[in-house]
């Protein structure tokens, strides 16, 4: 589904079978079997075949099946792509996307297949081209930010507060939301720093991101908790939906909460919040 929950996307190195059989237990929203940065060039073919078998044999539970392929302009990219689409991969992560043509090139290989795309923007040019990338294809469901390579690209220093990333982050969010797709923030690399992870995730949420990259299963639960709607948000969402139902029953085109008019995006947001709350067990499913 295009706008399914993607609060967490967990990277799993593509050439390491030992953690793969536990994928369902991690309960990440999306798992990315990584053929790119996690795999050294001599192992690229071995990883591709291992991931092929993993897609077919491992229990993913409720987790979305993702693969990060190598860029098409490498010796590996096309074979990666072919393997992924022939083995029921649900979403393909494309690294180092810089412009719309990177997307349209890939589309050429996809035919009529149902598969989502998730471009990862990791460079200055990519950021500046974010709007055109986000709208390059109907298949794009998620726009991701990769801060590590981005910082190197612009020659900045990675800091804890991340002020060097602010504009880039906002560009990703603007491009994604204006294209009607989700935005996913970069990974937090210090797996021992729980507080740092939570702070950065709160920042991402407040900027409008729908999720975050994950490099260790221990990061999943904390991130899901940050993205959980608050009690106030849930209460307000309930009120909005009640008002919406009322308007529907009356046959009125205008949804009103008290004296305030409620626009369609607000209703959609309310629906998402209720759904998220139900999924997280914060609310019992009603209708």
């Amino acid at each position: 589904m295009k706008d399914r929950l993607r609060r967490t996307r967990l990277y799993i190195p593509g050439n390491n079978p030992s953690i793969m059989h536990n994928i369902a237990i991690f309960e990440a929203d999306t798992v990315i079997l990584d053929l790119e940065d996690a795999v050294a060039p001599p192992d690229k073919d071995a990883a591709r075949i291992l991931v092929k078998y993993a897609l077919k044999n491992v229990d993913f539970g409720k987790t979305e099946k993702g693969v990060r392929i190598n860029p098409l302009n490498t010796p590996y990219g096309k074979d990666d792509l072919e393997m992924a689409i022939e083995n029921e991969c649900e979403i393909i992560f494309l690294p180092k996307v810089e412009n719309a043509s990177d997307i349209t090139n890939i589309e050429g290989y996809l035919g009529k297949r149902e598969v989502w795309l998730a471009p990862i923007i990791e460079s200055a040019r990519g950021i500046l081209n974010a709007p055109e990338i986000a709208t390059a294809s109907e298949r794009i469901a998620l726009l991701c930010f990769g801060a590590e390579d981005f910082t190197k690209d612009i020659g900045a220093e990675r800091t804890r507060e991340g002020k060097e990333l602010f504009l880039a982050r906002q560009m990703i969010v603007l491009a994604a939301k204006s294209a009607g797709i989700q935005a996913s923030d970069t990974v937090f690399s210090d797996i021992n720093d729980l507080d740092g992870l939570i702070n950065e995730t709160k920042l991402a949420k407040s900027l409008g991101f729908d999720g975050k990259g994950v490099i260790h299963p221990s990061q999943i639960k904390p991130i899901h908790e940050v993205f959980a709607p608050t009690e106030e948000e849930i209460d307000y969402a309930k009120k909005v939906l009640d008002a919406f139902k009322e308007a529907e029953e009356k046959g009125s085109g205008v949804v009103a909460l008290g004296r305030k008019m409620i626009d369609k995006p607000v209703v959609e947001r309310a629906k998402r919040i209720i759904k998220l709350a139900e999924t997280m067990g914060l609310l019992k499913k009603e209708n």
Binding site: I19, H21, N22, I25, F26, P217, S218, G281
Partner: protein, 514 residues
Amino acid sequence: MGIINKLGREIPEEANGKKLIPFKGAFSRKPQEKTVGRKIPIPKKPHEKKLLKSIREAIEKCGVKDGAHISFHHHLRDGDYVVNMVMEEIKRMGIKDVVLFPSALFPVHKPLVEMIEKGIIRRIEGSMNGPVGDACSHGKFHDICILRSHGGRVRAIKAGDIHIDCAFIAASAADEFGNATGVFGKSRFGPLGFSLVDSQYADKVVIITDNLVPYPCHPFTIESTNVDYVVKVDSIGDPNKIVSGTTRITRSPTRLKIAEYAVRFLDEAGIISDGFSFQTGAGGISLAATKFIGDIMRERGIKASFVLGGVTKLIVDLLNEGLINILLDGQLFDEAACDSLLNDSNHIEVSVELSYDIHSKGCIANMIDVAFLGATEVDFDFNVNVNTHSDGLLLHGIGGHQDAAAGAGITMITVPSFRNRLPILKEKVTTVTTPGETIDVVVTEMGIAINPGRKDLIKKMKNSTLPIMSIKDIYKKIIDITGKPAEPAFKDRVIALIEYRDGTIIDAVREVSE
């Protein structure tokens, strides 16, 4: 020709010249005998010296000869020097056919294997680990070895099933008249609870210490009442291996998940409430479960009335935070726990007799609400194996498993569903350590099974969103992934017996066929 016991396991009729009693149920045996004590000792003269010059002198003065029965404790764990030192001396003195009664053994005791092969040691009763267990599985002992739980060992000593000629008790501090402790000194290890019963029932008791203090040593666990001799050595063990710097919670996502399921189960069953109690250990999953319980207690402002450990820093921190009233300590594993035992009056040393002996009228295991235990295998009847791996090799002692399982309100086996492709669940375990009637819940990352006998728990958990299913269903899920393993082959010769805590025989271990 053997007897079939209540669990359908075939056991021999006798071993080492004694008739065996087959297992009939966890609480079925009602003994008629009295405890067997030692001869009344000849009075010591005033100021009579007990301090000897060497271990050899102690061995001579205690009259240790061929066929002697000797005991040791395992509080020094893998950092122990004492067992090897004493046995080396025994070897040098040309003594043979010795029977050993350690409360447990560790990889550091590998030198015993050579002595077993040479007949210096004819059998071991109590526990074995690693290389010694491996030697046993390959038929290297002269006699049939017997494995007992911590509580079972106490029972056997008191009932006279084990007669100890000489108990060698390592202490990190002692005075020259034999008051001894493990709570302070360069080689400190905490409680001396495993040795108490040895000190009370052995014919001769020798304290071996690397830290002689002025009389009277205080605090003391072993009373000089029971001590014949004291020997000072340079070092009783390696401090780095006796207690660790810190014990870490597991980072493995699988183990964390299992711990999470276990604690959620307890929470939904209404067990985690003000005043509850539990037992914990130093295993990865056990520690993680303890941490999660701590988080819940903190969040809801509830306290545990007591915790029985297996004590580590994690539990000590909960004690310091005021989340636990009293910490009962049977053995400890790290420096922080050691400091706490010495300094905190709410952290108390308890003997293994009090904690686990089936005949203890105040058996602590009986008061505990929850115990977290491990396994190498679990079967469809919920029988648990902790002694052998699926290949049949004897690789672990029983520890307190049988005792905690029998006593605890809820016994939870927390295990991964498979290790190295080998399923933990089987139709029948290779060796039965603990009977299924004392096991309540099995928690794996693939599913949770409740013993059908616990209808109360099944009812409580009816609407749970946890993955609760029959044990056979968990097994099927595992086999789908791993494939079904072949059964190991054994010879006919019985090389060890697994004794239940009441003195009956619950299973026999046969020599591996290779």
